[in-house]
């Protein structure tokens, strides 16, 4: 579904992503982990069209999307959420989600109906008339997901939708991510919350200094020496997580 071929992204002298290759199949739930500054978000920006890579190609469903603008890629069915949430602050939750739905459904009435469905799926029903900027962070994270879902993506990139949430909120969003995946959306998830990641992801990729240093099932990753040294630390215990 998504193929990265030796993608490299540089900012001046800094190589943020170095020759990363990746293969994502339809129905996958792929996790990306790595320390701060490892290039995870940069990789998302390259895939979604926000950055043009210096080297390498990005293919989505067999089509070369390298260098396409983000909106064109979103229309092909590949979109993303933002780590630092970007709600349309002055608009209601319902309008936020509807603007996403308008991409597939040009009629406002149809988009409105679709938005209602997505709002309920994401548990935002009681807040549909609230101004987006008035929402607490946990709900704004949900709004990010809802708005992206309304564009009916086949591949969705979730950038730290769990960061900054309390344990109760965490359970809720993990449940939401599962439901989205169950609806048939292929997911790539960036997350620091290892406990959640280990249970959610079918496969995990570890980035370090812009390079892919490991890839495998959660079990394999948890026991990988390089991953433990660079990121997890010796105290990490999969059973406890």
């Amino acid at each position: 579904m998504l193929t990265l071929e030796a993608v490299t992204k540089r900012f001046g002298g800094l190589t943020a992503v170095r020759a990363v290759s990746l293969e994502v199949r339809a129905g996958d739930l792929l996790g990306i982990i790595g320390p701060n500054g490892a290039g995870k978000t940069t990789l998302f920006n390259v895939i979604a069209g926000y950055y043009r890579p210096e080297e390498g190609r990005v293919r989505f469903e067999g089509r070369d999307v390298t260098g396409l603008p983000p909106h064109a890629i979103a229309r092909l069915g590949l979109t993303r959420t933002f780590q630092i949430v970007k709600p349309f602050g002055n608009l209601s939750v319902a309008d936020n989600v509807m603007i996403g739905a308008l991409t597939r459904l040009p009629r406002v009435a149809h988009a409105r109906a679709e938005a209602e469905r997505v709002i309920d799926l994401c548990g935002l029903g009681p807040h549909r008339y609230a101004r987006a900027r008035a929402l607490p962070i946990a709900l704004r994270k949900r709004l990010e997901v809802a708005r992206a879902l309304a564009t009916r993506p086949r591949l969705l990139l979730l950038d730290e939708v769990m960061a900054g949430l309390n344990p109760t909120e965490l359970v809720g969003i993990v449940d939401l991510v599962r439901r989205v995946h169950a609806e048939g959306v292929t997911l790539i998830v960036i997350e620091h919350v290892m406990a959640a990641m280990m249970r959610l992801a079918q496969r995990i990729v570890m980035l370090h200094h812009g390079e892919k240093i490991a890839e495998g099932t959660p079990q394999e990753i948890a026991h990988d020496r390089r991953v433990i040294d660079a990121y997890l630390g010796d105290e990490f215990n999969l059973a406890e997580a």
Binding site: H71, R75, R107
Partner: protein, 325 residues
């Protein structure tokens, strides 16, 4: 449909009062005031399409106003053709100019975008002042008065109804923007361009479209203004004062709302007309005092109602609804 929202009622009432004025009074000064309120309102609504709905805050809309004004004035003064033809030419030129400036300043945001638009209007001002053979330079162009609709030589009452139609048209266009797909997408662009892109919105194209539409509306109103006032000169029609005025009316009335530009124009235009009429005749030393009062009112509004008059009204309505509940 459900009941009309209060702001829609206010607009209907305002346009109805304007339509009824000539039936009650024939005083030229009063009719002139109503015409100017409507015309500045329409111009501010045109600005609001780009500045309010799409978030492209321009301080150079005098460029499009001036293009429209000169196109109409030169068409009737120099070529003895109908100013309507001039209006059409002005709109075409403004569409090109709007697309150009929209395209060139596409990556600029906020104050940088505003600065680039100012520069654009200034360039046109210089061109109009120096190109003496064509525009008569800074002397300006007097517009010949030839009675008739086709030549736009109209009396006050006819002007009032013509401008009323234009104002209602501009209002209706804004209402359409509030409820249509394009309008929602522009709101997304205004609120966050990156997020809008992620949702499949071609943000750059949408921004240019908003500026082009806004430019065309501004230009058409500029043409009508030239015919109504009867004189065009570069230092006025391309001035930043005009650009600021379009923006201020919208901001004071309520930016990004359909009613806002007209409310702002109602307040500012009538205030200005009244103060000017009251103080200019009294004594020579009072001539400038209206500017001081005008400035104080602006400061008060921006200080106490940054979301404009429609914002105050909205809060009042919400408070009343709670009190009744």
């Amino acid at each position: 449909m459900s009941r009309l929202a209060p702001d829609r009622w206010a607009a209907v009432a305002m346009f109805a009062v304007a339509a009824l004025t000539p039936l009650v009074v024939r005083d030229a000064f009063l009719l002139d005031s109503v015409i100017l309120i409507l015309l500045w309102g329409a111009l501010s609504a045109a600005w609001n399409v780009a500045g309010g709905y799409a978030g492209q805050v321009s301080l150079g809309h005098a460029a499009f106003f001036g293009i429209g004004a000169y196109a109409a004035a030169l068409m009737s003064a120099r070529y003895a053709q109908s100013p309507w033809l001039g209006l059409a030419v002005g709109v075409a030129l403004s569409v090109v100019a709007g697309a150009l400036i929209g395209y060139l300043s596409n990556r600029l945001k906020g104050p940088y975008f505003a600065l680039s638009t100012i520069a654009f209007a200034e360039v046109l001002k210089i061109v109009a002042s120096r190109w003496r053979g064509f525009t008569s330079g800074s002397e300006g162009v007097p517009v010949p008065y030839r009675p008739g609709f086709w030549t736009l030589g109209l009396g006050h009452v006819a002007w009032l109804y013509l401008i009323l139609v234009v104002a209602v048209g501009c209002y209706a266009l804004q209402v359409y923007l509030e409820r249509s797909r394009v309008g929602y997408q522009l709101a997304g662009v205004r609120e966050d361009e990156d997020a809008a892109e992620a949702l499949g919105i071609a943000t750059r194209r949408r921004k240019v479209q908003a500026i082009v539409l806004s430019a065309a509306m501004t230009s058409a109103c500029g043409s009508l203004w030239a015919q109504y006032v009867g004189f065009v000169d570069p230092s006025h029609v391309f001035s930043i004062d005009l650009s600021v005025r379009f923006a201020l009316n919208s901001i004071i009335g309520g930016i990004g709302t359909a009613l806002g530009p007209f409310l702002g124009s109602l307040l500012i235009t009538s205030l200005e007309t009244y103060l000017r009429a009251t103080f200019s005749g009294v004594e020579a030393s009072f001539t400038g005092i209206y500017l001081i009062i005008y400035g104080v009112v602006l400061i008060l509004i921006v200080r106490f109602a940054p979301d404009g008059l429609t914002g105050i009204a909205g809060r009042f309505w919400a408070w009343r609804a709670r009190a009744h509940a």
